[in-house]
Subunit: 337 residues, 2 copies
């Protein structure tokens, strides 16, 4: 006979919920409690059958997550957070990366594994609102990233303009006045990149500083070497800002490498602020000040939003759910010596 | 009527294979060809139906991949490579991370989503061979990482002893003689960590150098801050090696941060070699010399091995399939000035 969660709970003398928590490997369980439940699991040979539980509800227990690039630590960390948030509700995550290609994003948004998945979380880079208009699929969809789609899908975002203004304000507070923005791409629909540029402009204007268009530096992509090339281009053009606000941490890290090679000292000669708070930004010879979006909150909101759709309640969708961000101050913006 | 791949090929005047390559977003397709096929796709409104194609073969078209930690760039980059390798065969990847917890690895290895997935690629950290002996599941399993399980599952590995010897040999060639090894854990079954230590010992012995057990430094985990703590512990104990070989790049990066804080210059005072060749190791003020396992080859071998099992041919399994590695020389081991 199949061993149930209830059998394990009785043997261990704990609640079914506690056994469930241990089986799902939740945090905040004491080692003693974990050991006690584990002992009962081992004795009885209990093996959870998540699939059957979902099938009874007409679900597969699988949600899909599509991000542009797993090689980008921000998306890898976000994917880890989504996997953890989904696991709390006993869902498993089917992961794909689109390489930020509009056609791939379109394919994913339309019927990607429609018979297998209960819902889809999509983090688009290049997808346009019109791409989603003809969406025939009835699989619930949640979008990540700030964007006005005007469509009945929830999307989870942080306030990119406010975050960028916070970053620029921090540099102004440190006495910097010639602040470059690294990370525009004329050929990209990447909305956060445009919004962060808007925030940069707005905060400079609020400080009564002139906006020097030469300090807006295009990038060829969103990775470290794109940041390195952009910084080199800026310096080679004879421009010498006293601070850099980068679209993301990877671009900032590439830029700092070039500054180091050119003998410019961060933060003394040029201060640098990134965006994303990837783990890497805490290390390196100079740790990086950055805007930290609350990745756990983004993941939890996205999963909760999908579950709301799955609950079968009438739901118009189309909400914008906002996660918080904070500025993390590190060595790259220390005060001048 | 449903538009087929053949319809698209005829409209574009190309082969079905070419259309398939474009749809699957393969590299090495000229932009002109891509545009030509895309035009036909758009005109006809073609939408691939991978699920149906797999279902006809009695498959779901989904393989699972379980890695210890997506927050570790090595595993994120490896997962990206597996997703790409699987996509070449029109398989999608269901991803989970186990946090290197033996119980989680056990759960995954036993019937994880057995009704949904066609096969499982598992990268275990703590799983013991006996955990796999009672495996009732008939879902094909491939293991990643060097380990003698003596069980009928293929596993994909690099030669960790040879790789570690290559790293230590490189340091010896640079005139270093007091080479610390950062990355033992007495409480862990992590086999590669033990094998790399074996390689360190073997190469020192081959060079006729004494093995100083004090230079074998335990770590509390495999992340950057574990490396930082281990390096601090070594220095605080009054030990001053002239080189460090770290179990992985993250530990090396944490160690370099502490060396920088203590005013020790890499490579002049202490040379550092890592392992994994994560993208991050190319950047930072001092780029990191490292052992680069061929992640694409590991991914391709793992997917090919699963597909062999799926083909239905009698297959005893239990092969060890070896991927190559190479030493990537960077600034952290430049010759002394």
């Amino acid at each position: 006979m199949r061993v149930s969660l209830k059998d394990v709970a009785e043997r261990a003398g704990v609640s079914i919920k506690t056994v469930s928590n241990v089986v799902n490997n939740y945090p905040h369980i004491t080692p003693a409690m974990r050991a006690r439940v584990q002992e009962a699991i081992d004795e009885l040979g209990y093996r959870p059958n998540l699939t059957a539980r979902h099938l009874r509800k007409g679900r597969t227990g699988i949600i899909a997550l599509a991000v542009p690039e797993l090689g980008n630590p921000y998306f890898a960390e976000l994917a880890g957070a989504v996997i953890d948030a989904a696991a709390e509700h006993e869902f498993t995550v089917l992961l794909d990366h689109t390489r930020g290609d509009r056609q791939q994003e379109l394919l994913v948004s339309q019927g990607f594994r429609a018979r297998v998945i209960d819902g889809l979380i999509l983090s688009p880079l290049e997808l346009e609102p019109e791409d989603l208009q003809g969406r025939a699929d009835d699989v619930p969809l949640v979008l990540l990233g700030e964007r006005e789609y005007g469509l009945p899908f929830d999307h989870i975002a942080i306030d990119n303009v406010a975050a960028a203004r916070t970053a620029v304000r921090h540099l102004l507070d440190r006495g910097r006045t010639r602040i470059a923005y690294l990370g525009t791409r004329t050929d990209s629909a990447n909305r956060p990149a445009h919004l962060r540029l808007d925030g940069w402009r707005a905060e400079l204007a609020a400080a009564g500083l002139p906006v020097d268009e030469e300090l807006i530096v295009p990038v060829g992509g969103w990775d470290r070497d794109d940041g390195a090339r952009a910084m080199a281009n800026l310096l080679d053009a004879g421009l010498r800002p006293d601070a850099v606000f980068a679209f993301n941490d990877l671009i900032a890290i590439g830029a700092m490498r070039v500054l180091h090679e050119r003998g410019l000292r961060v933060p003394w000669d040029i201060a640098v602020v990134g965006f994303d708070d990837i783990a890497e930004s805490r290390f390196g010879a100079v740790s990086l000040t950055t805007i930290a979006p609350d990745k756990q909150a983004i993941a939890r909101l996205a999963v909760a939003s999908l579950l709301r759709s799955l609950s079968g309640r009438q739901d118009p969708g189309g909400r914008e759910l906002t996660a918080e961000f904070r500025l993390v101050e590190r060595e790259s913006t220390l005060g001048r010596r």
